[in-house]
Structures are given as C-alpha cells and as structure tokens.
Assembly symmetry: D2
Homo-oligomer: 394 residues x 4
C-alpha cells in the first residue's frame, strides 16, 4: 500500500520502539534495586532447596559484581534487551552458565519490576524526607536572620495587614512539616514486599515470602497477589500526589518571590546566579530559576493525572498500560528533589531588603488596627468598621 | 455598544451571579458547622471579656435555635446573602439586635469559611472511614460464602493462571485497608484549628485560640495564619486524592464486574436492580450502575486536578480563586460516599455463577503448573518453560 | 449486615439517585431541542407512512404546546422521569393517548439525547461566536479611546521594553479572532445529524435521515451509526477545548489586570462594581471578579479532561459513562459565556491611568533602543549590547 | 549548613541542570528549522541594508553547511550551550568571525524559538495529515476484504444488534476524516509568522516581516508582538488537543481489538508480531502493542493539560514557564505519529475470524428486528416492544 511499510526491517523497528519505549533508559535507575532483590531471591531459593547454598552464594557474588558495574557507570542496557531485568540475567548467564538460568525460578518479570520499583520508591521517599527537613532547617536559619523585619501582608493581591518575614517564611516551614506527615504515611503504605507474587497469581511452589521481605528491609509482606498488581499505579499515584503537595508549596514560594523581587516591590533581592539575562535587552535580570520552579508544579500535576488515568477502566490483573507509569514517576521524583534543592539554596541566598520592606508598610495596612482600637474603647465592631471605612473611602 | 448591556439591572445580575456562584446552595452543607464554630467563638469572646458571659450565653442559645432550623430543613440562604455566614449573622441580628453584631468581633469571613469547611471535612473523613470499613466487612462476608470457588485469573486480558473468588475479592479488601491508612494520615493533618487567624494575618487583639480549638474538638491549633490560608486548597487537594484512591479501587471493581458479568464469561450475575433496559432493544439488561461507578473515578480525578490548579501560580495570602474549590470538594466527597454505598450493596447482592466459573477453568491456565511440575522433577526452569511452550504453540 | 441497608426504600433511592444524577435538572436546557427533533422525527414518520399526515400534524401541534410550556418555564422534569425525553413523551401520551406512544418508532433514547445535545451545542457555539465578536468590537472601542497611551512592557515579570495600550489590548482581539477560526471549524465538524442511528446500529426499517437532517438545519447526515455514538464525548471534548482556548485568553487578561491595577503599579483602575470589600479590613477593594475569571480557566480545563477521560479505555458502542459528560459540558459552556460577558463589560468600564502609565516608563525600558541607536551608528549588535549592558550593571 | 551544598561546583551544576532541562536534547529536532529561519532573517537583513548582500550570502552558505551537518547527524548541542540557537550561532562565529555576530541583529532568542517551533509544528501537522489519510485508505482496503462479515454490535458491553465489519471499521475512517478537518483548521491558525517580534515588543528598527514570512512559506504575518508570545502555549495546546483527538480514536480501536481478540470472543486475530509472551506462563500471547496504544492516550491527554496549565495565571509577555512546553509537545507529537503508524499496520495485518463472528450472532441480537417485524404488521411500537420483551425475559 505505501512506501512506509515496504521494508520489513523498519516495520519491526517501529513495533520494537513502540513496545520498549524508554524502559532501557529508565531502568538504569532500577538496575541496582533489581540486583538487591535478585540476591534476596537467590538466598530464598537456596533456603527452600531449589538452589544449593553454593549456587545461591555464587549468584550473590556475581550480582555484587554487577552492582559495582552499576555504581561505576559500566552497566549498559541495550534497547533490544528492553529492560534491566533481561540485561542482568544475561550477565548472570554469561558468567555462570546454566546457574544463571535458574535465578528466574519461582518469579516472573512482573515480580521483579514491582520489587525493584518499590525499593527505589522507598529510597526516594527517604531522600525527599531529608530534603524537606533540610529545607525546614534552612527556613529557620533564614528566619533567625531576617524574621523580625515587617513587610506588607496581602490578600487578593492587595495590601491587607502587617506581616513579617517570620510569619511569611514559617508558613513554608509549617507546610513542609505537614508534607512530612503525608510522606511518612505513604512510606508506611508502600513498605510491603511484593516479591513472590509472580504475575499476580502466585507460583505453584512453596516459597518463603517472609524471608525475602525481611532480607530486603520491608516491614511486611503484601499478601494478596492480585492486590500487588493493582497497587502498581495506585501506589505510584499516591506518591506522585505527595510530590505534588511539595511542589504546591514551592510553586507558591516561587510566585511570592517573583512578585516581591520585582523592583516595583523590592522586598526581596535574588542573587545573580538565580537570574539570567536577555539576548536583546541588556538591562534584564530575569528570575528564570523561580519561574521554572513555579512551572514544575504543572509537570508534576500532569504526571500524577497520567498515572491515575493509565490505571483506569481496566480489569484486575496486570495490563501493559502500567509500564508507562515508570517514566512520569521517575522523572517526577527527580524534578521534585531538584526543586527542593533549589528551594534550600534560595533560602540560603536571597536577601531581604529592609528599606523596601519598611517603605512598603503604608497606612492602609493599619486600618484594621484602627478598627480594633475603637473596639477596645467600647465601640461595637460593625460600627467601628463603618467609621474607619468612611474615613478611608470618602 | 450592544443591546446585551443596555439594562443596568441585567448587568448587575450577571456580575452577582458570577461572583456568588453556587455558594448559597453549597453552604447548606456548611451552615451547621458555621454555627458550631460561632458558638465556640462566642464562648471565647465571653472568656476574654469582649462579651459578658450572659451575652455569650444568649448567642449560644440563638445559634442552637438556628441549628435546629438547619436540622429541620427550615434554614434558607438567599442568593443575595451569598453564603451561610451572612445568612446566619442576619438571623442573629434579627433576634438579638446589637448583640448579633458583636459576634463578628475578632474574626473574618475567611476564618469562618475555613473553620466550617475543616469541621465538615473531618466529619466526611469519618463517614468515609465507616463506609470503607463496612465495605471491607461486606467483602469478607462475600468471601465466606463464595471464596472457595475457582475461576480464571487474567493478565493483559488473557487467561493467565488459576484464581479464586477469595483471591479476587480480598484484593479489594486489602486495598481498602490501605485507603484507611491514607485517610487517617490525612485526618491527622487536617485536624488543626484554623479559627482565630482572621484574613491570614491574625487580629490586633489577644484571643484564645487554644480554647476554641479544644471546644471544637481539634487536636491542635494551626499556628501560622498565612499557612492557614495556604492550607485551603492544599488540604482539599490532599483529601480529594484520598477520594481518588478509593474511586480507583471501585473503578477497577466495576471494570471487573462489567466484563465478568457479560454472558460471554458469566462468572458473576448482577441483580436486576443494578441493571436498566433499553428503549429500543427488548432483550437488554445493561450494567448502568457499574458503568457509572467506573465513570465517577474520572469525575473525582478531574476535581482533584481542578483543586490543585485553582491554587497554582498565586502569591500567598487569600485569593478569591479558592472559593471555587468548594463545589468540587463537596460534590466529590458525596460521589465517593455514594459509590462506596453502591459497592457495599454490590457485594451483598451479586451472585457467583459457579458453573460458569468452572467451565472457564480451561487448560491453558495450568501451563505454568506444568512447568513447575517439571521443575520439581529437576528440569531447570528455562528449559521446562520451553518444553511446555513448545507443546502448546506447535 | 448493617443498619444502613435495612430499609429497602433507602436502598432503592440511593440506586436511583446514583443512576439519574443531575440529568433531570440539566435536561431543562435540552428539552426545547428534544421537541424540535421530535417534530422533525414525526414529520419523517409521516413522510415514510408510519404515521398518517394527520397524526404527524397532531404530534407537531402538541410538541409546539410543550415548547411554549418550556419557554414559559412551566415544563417540569420529575426525578423519577430521569430525563426530558421521558417527560416529553409522557406529556404526549397524556394528551394524545396511543398516538403519543407511536412517536418512539424508529428511534432510541440514545438518538434523542444525541440530536438534542447536538442542536444545543450548535446554538451555544453561535452564542460564543457572537460574544467573541462583541468582545473584539469592545476591545477596538477601548483602543480607540486609550490605545496611544504608552506603558511598560514586561517579560519574566520584569520591565522589558516600551509597550502601549493598543499593543496590549489588540493582543486579546487578535487572539479572539483565532478563537473564532477554531470555533467555526468545530461548528463545521459538529454540524452533522445523528438522528436515525438509534442505539448505534440503526433501525431495522427504511427511514429518511436526509429529511430530518435538512429539517433540523444540519448541513449533512452523520452516516456511520457507530461513529455517531463514538462522536459523543469526542465532539464534546473538542468543544470543551475551544472553551478552554477562550478561557486561556481571559485568564491572562485577568492576570494582567489584577497585577496592573495594584496600587504599586496603578496602570489600570477597576470600577467599584468589579470589586468587593472585606469583613475585617475596611480599606479593601478586592478584584474578586477578575480572580474568578482567572480561576474559571481551571474549571474549564478540568471539565475538558473529564470529558476526555470518561470516553477512554472503552469499547465502541454506547456506554453509560457518556451520560456524565452532560454536566461538565453544559456548565462549562455557561461559565465561558458568562466570562465573555464579564470581559466585554471590563473593556467597557476599566480606566487607564495615564499618569501612572507615564511614570512607569522608566529608563531601563529604553536600554534596547540605546543598543539599536549604536547599531544604527555602525556598532555591531553584540558589541553595542555589551556596551549598554556595562553602562547599566556597573 | 549541610554537606549537600559544600561544593560550589555541584551547586552551579544543579542550577544549570534545572535551568537548561532537556532543551539541549529536544533542540536537535528544532535546529534544522532554526537554520531555515536564520537564512530568511539574513536575507531580510541584507534587503534592508543591515548586511551587505555578500554578507547575507555568506551567512546563507554557512547555514546550509550546518543544515547538512544536521542531516548527517553531525550537529551536536552541548549542555552548556543550552539550546540549538547558541550552538548554531557559535558555529557561525567560528567560521565567519564578526559576521557571525551580526546575525542576531533585529531579533531575540524568543523570536528564534518561536519561529523554529512554528515551522516544526507545521511540518508535523503535515505528517499527521499524511498518516491519517494513509490510515483511512488502509481501513478502506480492510473493509474491501472483510466488510461484509457480520458480527455482534454491543452497547453497555452487552450484545445489542447486528453489526458488520464494514460498519465497525468505517466508524474509524469517518472519525479520522473529522480529525483531518480539525488538523487543517489548526494548521490555518498556526500558519502565521512570528519572526520579527523579538522579545514581544518588536525591535526599535524598521524590518521587513512580510519578506521573512513569505520566504519561510507562512501565509501571513502574526502582527501583534504580544500575541506572538501569548500564542506560544496557546497554539501548542490547540495542537496537543488535535493529537488527543486522534489518540481518542486509537484508544477506542485498541480497546475494541483487545476485547474482541480474547479467545472468549475471537472475532479478530492478532498477528504474532503484535503480541509478546510471559516470562512465567508459556501459553501467553499478550496484546502489548494494543495496550500501549490504548495507554498512550493518557500520556497525550496529560501533556495537553500540562501545556494548558503552564501558561495559566501568568501575566502577558514571555515567562520562562513556556520553555517546559517543548518537551511534552515534541514527545506528544511523536507518540501520536508512531501510534498512527501502528494503527495502519494493524489494519494491514489483523485477521477477521469469520467463523467466530458467525457464531457470535446469537438470537438476542435480533430482538429489535422482531419488534419491528411486528410494527410492520401494524402493532404500535411500545406494544410490540412489550410483547418481544415478555417472550425473552419470561
């Protein structure tokens, strides 16, 4: 029918590319965790007698070799291998021959993806946890230095009542503390071992799931094999939402700082390294880093949506659609972590311009105080309010 | 310029309608909570001497009268009153005159919305909690009756390995248990009193926030006034996400049942009351209720997105955009609760057709078992797999 | 099992409420179009001999009676009737007896919903078209009065180069013109008659689809009956996207005006009727209307997403999930139309503060001009740029 | 404060990585278009006397050299160059010295991105256009071969009325035809030249925008410089929506084929190359390619959402947030094009199993026909319906 499909070769390439997607790239992040899980699986196979203890030991040593390849950046996944699981198993077979072929007993590739991803996610939650805490500490240090400075509080983007750097900055510290609560709840939920559920219906063999769960540091076994499959996507969506929560805060922080560092306000000053110039306007110092921090909320929010919808309107049991959750999840986590790093840096480097803050403290900010001065003299609130309002608007 | 704008009256109506939106309808759900918060606020004003204890008492009695109006369905909010706060204050002034005007001392409307919404959300979380637990119990009862029946397990919508009603149904029970963990974390985060932060910058007066927090049953005070404003939208998004998590499960449940109740499978039978007919095809029994349960995930997911985006790219301090979160949040919660009710009913009423389940247990489901039978005889896994595969595909 | 389900009555009510949803309310908007379509259908049935011409005539007269009931606001749909189609057919049977029962020959309820919705959507596109054009005219009138005033042009929310009210305002006029192009393409796509495809597989009877299409003013027949079903949701998503496009413009307009009407800038002044006060701060004039216009983009965008996802991962042929598209579509159209009305009003009423605009025209805005003055004197661009940059930043 | 930030070097790297993002990778797709635009710009500078005609000619030749580098895959963008614009200008300066520095006269980087992206998008629309047409042709060829086969039509995932391969397949052809209409409207809207608007406020110099527009094949100049900036994101969202429309169709197609190729139905047979096996279950032939096609709708829909939201709640004039639209747009287009290629291949390769189709044509599909047989004998429709219904359900 058309030139496009004439060559058999191209056709197969299109199909292969469509099927593999970015997995061979993304799996670089997961290979280490797959090795950990394979080590635990080999130990378990040794324990239940499928492997001799010598065989289990050899597999462990070889997996350690692969781990050091990964750490040195020498581990490569070829597109035709599709994923890290095939690449690792190939290496095992290359070095260990038939023994390498035995590692896949009593598990399926679904198992492997799930446990590697789960371990990866647990590590990422820990990292986010550390970064959030570091951000909170940095905010407190920032408050120590600048907290007592007064500057205008806004509502509806109009001057409202007096605020202070402390009040403003500790809002973000408090919000991050609540993010930590959510993160730790999600950690608790994710901290269950999927290993041993195979393709979602178990394996027709007695295996020791408690053993692998314990060896891998999970606090419990995720019992139901269908639920293990169902939780792929479900847990990812949950985690993506915690990332969105963190990004919501950073989005607001960026929005505040972009506005308040405008010369028209000048409450904050951004260090040069946070700004870029223009190729046509020589005077420009643009807050690009803050704009990107603001923008990245939307990337995260769309990733969460994507993960939710990829798992929708499908029957239970594994569906290939789940593969596509890997990309947004890994990318979304990295964006959030980098955004947290930028935010930490921000609070270390921004300057509060106390003169501009002081000159921003104009009269209208004290209108409510004048109402309450009258209230304290005994005037009913609604009447005091009217009195002050009249004095302003007329 | 145009006829459209000739009449002053219409113009004002368009502006009013655009500004008020559905608030006067939605606030019917919040009025009760606003009364509770006003009672606590009046007590606090009495305690700090702004009101006499007699005045505080009178306000309390009158608010109780309004609460019973609400309970009887006699409480009405006029569109021109905009919201429940104005409607309630109007009633207080109507009955108590000047005293009614004093209730608004040391608070703002933002305060009121926040505390009423927070109390409402806490109650709704409790309700969801109860419904999730009831669903879990119902699933267990269902398993007791039908659990031992075998039926096919699918992956990629193809027969995979043997499953059972117990394995299938307990997936949903386990998933709901994890939803409970998330719900309870979100409850803990939301359980802080926003009352007393006024418009986001406090009130120029000494008030007793601990007292109102305790009286209203909050486990702590949400200290930072700017954070209180920021948490509107943030907390709502978090709660919407827990609803999405529940709906993800119900969406999958519905997808399973719609497929498995097709005559082509017949594993499940839906009771007539879950089905509707067609106006043109007399033979039809359509699973409308399940289709709507499936569809409602997408309503919830879009509501969560809406709430997230309404709060994005805005500076801190209250922005009117937050008002629009009320609609999706209240509607989203109700849809989720009703969906849970339908799911409970489902597990009470659906029938498992054991004959159809049995005839679904065809040969290919046991291919993996045959592989493992060979493995147990000592054949290496990859070889055993090839052997069975060859016997099937040739 | 639980008190919740003890009473049969409540159970049925929950199921009914879940199934019917808001249809009986939303269908008030569609009843008129259902009558139009029924009139054309009756004529067609007369034409092909299923009805006598007298019968067709009687049905037409009775449908005109119902249309005038609708216009007077006397037409009511009871929740138990579920939708306008049942309510209208009931009225026909009430007045015409057996003849009323014949109107449903050769059509299904799906047919009716589709054709009524299609006619409704075509009318709404026309209305949006008119409103967009009126907005463009209003912008041009606004430019006529204020266009020559210079004020700062911003990039990255930093002063960039000189702009003018004309340049700024005509951006919105031009954008609306492109919206008109998109609207008219979508109108062309939607302008095909679905009537006569029944439940997606036609009717086992010779009918005259060309006749009804022509009588209802469609420019062609949508031939494929399965496509008719598939286009429900698809067309709605397309239309929602055109609404999102309009709201994107209004969102930016609102964002501009909220910022530029801050006293810190003062380039624009909002009339009082666009602002609201605060219950605690007597000085406040908040731009609520603009904030809501800004916020409503997110409502529309989430509605579009909802419509897209409701139709995803489903097989062809009608699925009940499609019912839920009605709510977001009708609500989304109304919000967009009202937002356009508000925008028209805005351009009629906002004032440009020429003094503030003039004092905003500070030196840095002319840095690029200084570069180009050097370029005109023969200095290479990159050198001229460096020269001016050095003079500013040192 | 923390080890994390001790090394100055790392800090700068984090900032650089956050700012540059994937631009240096994505811009490989845009470099060719940037060269085209630079050639036209050089010609224009020659025409208006900023460059001599010899200089313009030299730049053109050098840009042609770069174009052939790009075509051969020899063009590389270093991360520290950030984007293709810098990389190309560096090459020009390297070969041409001072003359290379003159190319940036009378334009800004914003200009360059906009025009390169616009040209890229126009080419991609053309490609989609071709692919859609090819898909339509392939469907028609498929119908020629299999169209007359009858198989069941479903509604609510229940057998409804007789359908045919022709009716089913031509639904997708018709839908694609409507996609072509939308694509061509969006092409018309995008087909305007942004070049010459610099950073959104023009250049302080007389340039000839008509000339460059014509040379680059645009059908008109996009006059308003602010609108040019605003249309970035707006146009991308519009285009993403057309991609979503195509993916909606492919999503439904995939959903149909996944279900109908289940052995439980067997209406269609998928060729082996569309299927993959399982690492644990030897019998498996999974429809992975179809599942990924189904899933990719959600990727596209989330990309559209992302693009919309990245441009929301921002004032007019360029904001850096727009940079992030590049990734989802380029990736989204490629996914759609590859999905179309897969769909074409599908219709070339799937087999209709006429035996299974025939045995699917069970009795209940003819219930409506039986009603209409009665109607033709003179029984009123509602009565005929009741009669047939009773015969079935009792």
């Amino acid at each position: 029918m058309s030139k496009l499909w004439q060559k058999k070769y191209n056709l197969d390439k299109i199909i292969e590319a469509y099927t593999v997607g970015d997995d061979y790239v993304l799996d670089q992040k997961l290979a280490y965790y797959d090795c950990l899980a394979s080590k635990a699986h080999a130990d378990m196979l040794g324990r239940i007698g499928v492997l001799s203890s010598e065989e289990a030991e050899k597999l462990n040593q070889e997996l350690d070799v692969i781990i050091s390849m990964i750490e040195k950046g020498d581990f490569i996944i070829l597109p035709e291998q599709e994923d890290c699981h095939t690449a690792i198993e190939s290496l095992l077979i290359q070095s260990l021959g038939d023994l390498g072929k035995k590692i896949h007993t009593a598990r399926s590739r679904n198992d492997q993806i799930l446990v590697a991803m789960r371990l990866y996610l647990k590590d990422q939650i820990s990292d986010c946890n550390k970064l959030c805490k570091e951000l909170i500490d940095t905010i407190h240090a920032f408050i120590k230095e600048n907290g007592s400075i007064s500057f205008p509080g806004y509502t509806h983007m109009r001057k409202a009542m007096p605020s202070s750097i402390e009040l403003w900055a500790s809002c973000y510290a408090d919000s991050m503390k609540d993010n930590l609560l959510l993160l730790s709840a999600v950690m608790e939920i994710l901290d269950q071992s999927p290993l041993g559920t195979a393709a979602g219906y178990g394996v027709p063999m007695e295996i020791d799931r408690d053993f692998t769960a314990k060896e891998l540091g999970f606090s419990k076994v995720q019992e139901n094999a269908i639920y293990v499959q169902h939780s792929r996507g479900k847990f990812e969506a949950m985690l993506m939402h915690t990332m969105v929560q963190q990004m919501l805060d950073l989005n607001r922080l960026a929005s505040d700082l972009i506005l308040y560092s405008m010369p028209e306000f000048g409450y904050f000053e951004l260090p040069d390294k946070f700004c870029t110039g223009s190729s046509i306007m020589p005077q420009k110092k643009n807050p690009d880093l803050l704009e990107l921090m603001r923008a990245n909320l939307h990337v995260l929010a769309s990733y969460e949506t994507q993960v939710i919808n990829l798992g929708s309107n499908l029957i239970s049991g594994y569906n290939r659609d789940a593969q596509l959750t890997k990309g947004p999840v890994i990318s979304g986590i990295e964006i959030t972590q980098n955004s947290l790093r930028i935010a930490i840096l921000l609070f270390q480097e921004i300057k509060v311009n106390s003169d501009k803050c002081a000159s921003g403290m104009t009269d209208e900010l004290f209108a409510t105080k004048r109402v309450y001065d009258l209230v304290k003299e005994g005037v009913p609130f609604r009447e005091a309010y009217q009195k002050v309002a009249k004095s302003i608007h007329s």
